[in-house]
Symmetry: C2
Amino acid sequence: MADPLRLGIAGLGTVGAGVVGIVQRHADLLTARTGRTIAITSVSARDRSKDRGVDLSAYAWEDDPVTLAKRDDVDIFVELMGGDSGPALDATKAALAAGKDVVTANKAMLAHHGQALAEAAEAAGRTIRFEAAVAGGIPVVKALTESLAGNKITRVMGVMNGTCNYILTRMESAGLPYDDVFAEADALGFLEADPTLDVGGIDAGHKLALLASIAFGTKPDFDGMRIEGIERISIDDINRAADMGYRIKLLGVAQQTADGVEQRMQPCLVPASSPIGQLEGGTNMVVIEGDAVEQIVLRGPGAGQGPTASAVMGDVCDLARGIRIPTFGQPAGTLADSPPARSARPAPYYLRMTLADKPGALAKVATILGQHELSIDRMRQYDHAELEAPVLIVTHAAAPDALDAALRALETTDVVLAPPVALRIEAV
Amino acid sequence: MADPLRLGIAGLGTVGAGVVGIVQRHADLLTARTGRTIAITSVSARDRSKDRGVDLSAYAWEDDPVTLAKRDDVDIFVELMGGDSGPALDATKAALAAGKDVVTANKAMLAHHGQALAEAAEAAGRTIRFEAAVAGGIPVVKALTESLAGNKITRVMGVMNGTCNYILTRMESAGLPYDDVFAEADALGFLEADPTLDVGGIDAGHKLALLASIAFGTKPDFDGMRIEGIERISIDDINRAADMGYRIKLLGVAQQTADGVEQRMQPCLVPASSPIGQLEGGTNMVVIEGDAVEQIVLRGPGAGQGPTASAVMGDVCDLARGIRIPTFGQPAGTLADSPPARSARPAPYYLRMTLADKPGALAKVATILGQHELSIDRMRQYDHAELEAPVLIVTHAAAPDALDAALRALETTDVVLAPPVALRIEAV
């Protein structure tokens, strides 16, 4: 049998403890499948004394993840600390420089530093695998990088933040306002330390940027992504959408356009009966379209100890089996710079705005929309409070640029009291 | 750059022509992703003169696939002829003996000869990859073998024959009887040369046997599978199921039980609103459950030129990248013999039978069911023809063995005019 494969694990939170659990529980299974013993030699975390529900006594302890990353008895540095820079980045760089492969669940770090890290990995003859960074237990990185390698990928799309999906589905099912459900999610421990990473769409955006890089052979370009969060979605929006047969989802779309790669992460209305519309709670779904495969849809748990540890171990087993693919599927030096592009593809839009309750307000809005070639499919003014009139408008299919121009024009009037909520209606 | 990877393709039907098309169309993409030129050196098919819509003039032609399989200028033998033995098997053996890797879409051959072929591959230091053999473009073999390698797999389940699913969904949507839709499917070219492979559940059974082997580390055991086809499903069954909120699907289930591996492929009633219940036409869906990942669901086109060629090329790219995993995920010699097992898990059953229209017939049926501890949830005798009374019964949850015993007892009576149709109701 080949030599044991030795893991050094930095970060012993939920996922780290899950990885330790699998290595301990499934030692025989892992050896049968990979032909090697998979051994943990050393671990690192902030607090040595914390009970994590797994026995760590057989492993060396390092207070400093950078020291762990460089240990001679580590073949794979398993980075489960998180954070887009700081210790995670330092230790990952150290591991690569010391000739270790890296397995990580850290989408933030890769979205921001993936290109430089991929180059460093290649210089060292190593790779970085990150299945666990995107959509938890769903094998989307592998599907895109390996299974679909014979395809020109045309579009990647999906719901990739379980917390947002939990909040949106819970608002609908319980009829609760955003703030209440946000507080619930916080109490349940569903939110990142900085919750804007979740509800601001940033975490999901990190994931989409990584998938886009693999799909289109481009450098990860998180800064080129258009991102909107779910913070401004009200229970009214959810109810109005439901009345029309839609549900609101934080939907990511990355696609090749004539001008470059379009990447957007934004709440959209999707048909309630569609697979994406039916996604509940923390479940994630990724849709991949390629010229040969047509469309495949992958669904599963987007987070959680078991599913995320499963993804980490899939990467570890690949490396144990000698599979070492370039980080983003092709050599980092061959990844293209792709200008951020914007789809011109028209779609209907849902608009909600609050108008000053004075004569001619609605007419003014309708005029501005018309001036920007936005034609109105339905418009409704509903149960309004004193001096404020909430208005709901659904447009016919309109170009995104036309919509943006109209929104800017609306904001300059004296009749629209706050920036309108504008949600694209996607026929997914 | 590494040496070119040279393919010899035997079988130039829909899928073979699709593979040629991808290699020609995406030469640059394939090289960017694998670091190698992927070249076709030689091809083989029954009829050299047929126009397949692709230019084959640059490739050597072999009339005999065995000769092609042994050519010095072939690194990978791509077997797309089909058939569980004959030329496909002969050529695959020849390729392995000559030290070639094999990529195949041939589930029948692997379900019957997979163990021997996997052993032959290992003896030669080669492998057989077969993503295209199961569920067309859906990367289920890779997900199970690689992505979920850290899991003890508990269950694999799915709809894996697009033709059966087409027939069942078309019967429902058009309100047509089985024979009419079967004739339609035949006219559309959806059926295998021997249509019982499709409608008898055999083709789907082949696929399930391969997945079960990977999932449970057992030798492929097609003979140990319980298989029922869809031939006896009537439009009445479909309509009655729909009335109760169900749809009928040819569902495969493989799971580890205390006594061994249970494998069954049979038409079942599933909730119409479930993801499997909503599958339309030729779409396939595979559900994989593991102790860490919980559940992932993969959906996509189960057949067709592009999707199947995509799967073939995924395997080719893996080999080009140096990925060479044992055929069924672990060395063939370590695969266990597993006795076929039968789940004791109770489920409700749908029963349709035709009774002789004479006094006491229904009472006799009810008595027999009661004697076998099958309790009746609902029973309905409907619009009956002269001398024959169709009866529909839905039982409460019952053990499969109890149901079988009751069915045997019913058949020995003089009141049940034909073997009852009995369909398990699965809460998928």
